[in-house]
Symmetry: C2
Subunit: 380 residues, 2 copies
C-alpha cells in the first residue's frame, strides 16, 4: 500500500425524500440566491426538479435556472453559465442532474473567479477558490457527486480534458435513488460500466493494497449484481440504492487508496471515441475498451490480474474472466467491440492520434502510439 | 438500505514518514501552542514521540505534554487535562497514541468549553464547539482516529459511557503503520477483535444494504488475513498498513451506511467486563461475547446470519461459522470464554446488573436482563 492522503469533505444525504435536507443546509450556510444548473429535462420526468423548486421556495431561496448541459459537456456551455452567474451575482451553485451537469457546475463554481475556465484544464491556472456547490444527483455513473474532479470538452480543439481541486468538492450532495426509477435501461448499463471502469482504473496498480483491493472486489460484485437486478425489476428500490452508493464510492477516493492515483489509460483512450463520435456514451465506450485492455496487459504481466479473475469472476484463468466480463456486458445489451459502436478499422489512425493528445497515457506502463493501436485492434 | 447522512471531515495522512505533514497542517491552521496528550510511554519505544517533538520544534510550535492516559480511559484524567489546557491557554490538542488517548483528547477538546466534561456523556449538555484536534495514531483498534465518538469511564459510578459530536472529529490524523512494529502480539489481536466487532455491530442489522455488506465482508476477511500475516511476520509492512486502514474504515461511518446505526449490544455488555475487571482488554472481551451473541441471535432469526457464514467463513452452516470464528480467535491466543478471562458463574449477576445500566441494549432486538444472562451463560 502506497502512502496516501484521504480527505473528502462532501456531506451526503442519501435516501428517499432526503432533498428536504437541502433547504436546511442552504439556510445554515446563509445562501439566499443560487444558480441552478441542469440538463435537458429528464429531471422534470423523475420529479427531482419539482421537489427542488419546492425546497428552494419553502426556504425562501431565490434562484435562477441555467438549462441545457448535454452529455460530454462543453467548455462553451460552462463559459455561458459563468457569464449568467456573474450577471445575477449569485452566491452558490446547485447542480441537479448527472455527472455532466455536476462537472459543468464545478467548472462554473471555479470559473466564476477566473479569467477563463479553460485555464484550469490547460494547466494555465490553479483553482484558488470556488463558489459553494450543492448537488442533487439524478443519474449514478460518474461519481462526480462526491469528488473534486471535472471533465469538459473543448469542441474547437477536440480536447476532452479533466481537472480537479479541493475547492471543487460539492459541499452537500443529495442522492435519492427514487429519482432514478425513470431512467432507460441503457443509461443504467452505461452507469454500471462507467462505475466498474473507475474501480478497474485503480485495481490493477498494486497487488498489495489489500484493504482497498478487497473493497474493490466487493464494489465490482455489488455493481454487477445490482445491474442485473435493476434490469430485471426497474422498481427494485434496494437495488437502485446500492447501485447509487456503489457508483459514488467508486470514485470518491476510497477505491483508489494506496494505489498511486490509478492508471486511467482506458478513460483517456475512450475519450477519443467521443471526440470522434460524440453520440458514443462514455460508459458504452469503456465497456469495449476495458476487456481489451485487460487482455492486452495480462499478456505482459499476468500476476496483476489473478485476483480479479478469482474474486470477481470466480475463475482461475484471466482469459476466461475476460470472456465472462464480455458476456455480462453483452447480456446487458451493450457493445463489446468498436464495430458495434460504429467505428471502422479505417478510423483507428484518427483514434490513435486523438488519444495521443494526452500528455501521458497509462500508469502501470506508459502507452506509445503503437500500444494504443494494438489495443484498439484487439477491441475492434 | 436505510436513509443516511455520511459526512467525515477528517483528513488522513497515511504512510511511512507522513508525520511530517503535521507541521504543514498546524502552521496552515495558525496553531502556535498545543497540548500533547499521551499514554504511558510506548510512543517512546516506537519512535513516534521523538518524531512528533521534532516536527513541532522544526515548525516553531510551542507545546506542553499531558501524559498518563491508560486503557479504559477515565473521566478523572480528562478533567485533569482540561484544567491543564486552560492553565496554559492552548489553541489545539494533539493526541499521540491509541484509542484511549484519542478519546481522552476528544473529551478535553470539547470539555475545554464545558462546565464539566461528563455532562456530554450523561446527556446533560451538547457539544457546541471544541478545540481543533490532531492525532498521531500508534495502535490501530478503536477507529477513534477518524470519527467523532469517544468513550470514558466514570470510575466513581462504574459507568463506561460514550458520546459523539461533529465537533469532535480530528481535523487531521496521521497513521504511520511503521509505529506499530513494536506492539506486542496481544495488542495486535485485541485491535483485530475490536475492529471485527465494530464491523459486526452493524453487519447483521439488514440483509439488503448490499454495498455496505459487501464492503463489510471484505473488511472482515482482510482483517483476519492481515492478523494472521502480522503474527507470522511482525515486520510485514504491507500487512501492518492494511491492518491499520481496515481498523480505521471499520468505524469511520462507512461500515455503518444504511444500517440504522448498528446494534452495539456486544459493546455495551462487554463494557461491564472492564467495569468488573479493569484488566480485561476491550478487544479480548469482545472476542468472547461476539461468537456467543451470534449463536444466541441466530437461533431466533437465522436468515440474518447466512451471508456472514458464507462470505466470511465459506460455509453454509451458521454454527460451523461460529466454530471457525472461535477457532481463529483461539489460534491468535485469545480467550473464547468468560472463564478464560477470569470471570466465574457467580460473577454473572453483577455483569447483568452492570450491563443494564445502559438505557437500552440491542438494536435488532432489545435485550432484557434475562437475555443478557442467557447470553453470558453461553459465553461462560
Amino acid at each position: 500500500m502506497e502512502s496516501f492522503t484521504f480527505y473528502n469533505p462532501t456531506k451526503v444525504h442519501f435516501g428517499k425524500g432526503m432533498i428536504s435536507m437541502l433547504g436546511t443546509e442552504l439556510k445554515k450556510d446563509g445562501i439566499s440566491k443560487i444558480l441552478m444548473i441542469a440538463g435537458g429535462g429528464s429531471i422534470r420526468v423523475s420529479g427531482a426538479y419539482d421537489d427542488l423548486v419546492k425546497v428552494l421556495q419553502d426556504n425562501g431561496i431565490d434562484f435562477i435556472e441555467g438549462w441545457g448541459v448535454r452529455a460530454n459537456p462543453t467548455l462553451e456551455k460552462a463559459r455561458e453559465l459563468v457569464k449568467l452567474a456573474r450577471e445575477h451575482e449569485i452566491q452558490a451553485i446547485i447542480a441537479i442532474g448527472g455527472g455532466s451537469v455536476i462537472d459543468t457546475a464545478k467548472s462554473v463554481a471555479a470559473g466564476f473567479y477566473l479569467d477563463d475556465v479553460w485555464d484550469i484544464y490547460s494547466r494555465k491556472a490553479m483553482v484558488k477558490k470556488a463558489l459553494p456547490l450543492y448537488t442533487v444527483l439524478t443519474l449514478s455513473a460518474t461519481g462526480s457527486e462526491m469528488n473534486g474532479n471535472a471533465v469538459l470538452t473543448n469542441t474547437e480543439t477536440r480536447q476532452k480534458w479533466g481537472t480537479g481541486s479541493i475547492h471543487m468538492y460539492p459541499r452537500v450532495t443529495v442522492i435519492d435513488p427514487g429519482y432514478q426509477f425513470s431512467l432507460p435501461p441503457k443509461q443504467v448499463v452505461n452507469g454500471a460500466l462507467d462505475t466498474i471502469a473507475h474501480i478497474l482504473e485503480y485495481y490493477f496498480v498494486s497487488v498489495e493494497a489489500f484493504t482497498t483491493l478487497g473493497i474493490n472486489d466487493s464494489l465490482q460484485c455489488t455493481m454487477i449484481e445490482m445491474t442485473d437486478r435493476i434490469l430485471q425489476d426497474p422498481a427494485d428500490y434496494m437495488a437502485r440504492a446500492s447501485f447509487a452508493w456503489t457508483a459514488t464510492l467508486a470514485l470518491n477516493g476510497l477505491s483508489g487508496v494506496g494505489l498511486k492515483g490509478g492508471d486511467w489509460a482506458c478513460h483517456q483512450i475512450e475519450h477519443s471515441f467521443s471526440a470522434l463520435k460524440p453520440e458514443i456514451a462514455h460508459g458504452a465506450g469503456l465497456g469495449v475498451i476495458f476487456p481489451a485492455w485487460i487482455e492486452y496487459m495480462a499478456e505482459r504481466d499476468p500476476k496483476r490480474f489473478n485476483r480479479w479473475a478469482k474474486n470477481v469472476w470466480g475463475v482461475e484463468s484471466i482469459s476466461e474472466a475476460v470472456k465472462l466480463f464480455r458476456d455480462k456486458i453483452k447480456s446487458w445489451g451493450s457493445a463489446v467491440s468498436l464495430r458495434e459502436l460504429g467505428i471502422k478499422e479505417s478510423d483507428l489512425p484518427t483514434l490513435v492520434e486523438l488519444s495521443m493528445i494526452s500528455d501521458r497515457i497509462g500508469g502501470i506502463s506508459r502507452f506509445s502510439a503503437s500500444d494504443v493501436e494494438a489495443l484498439l485492434m484487439l477491441a475492434l
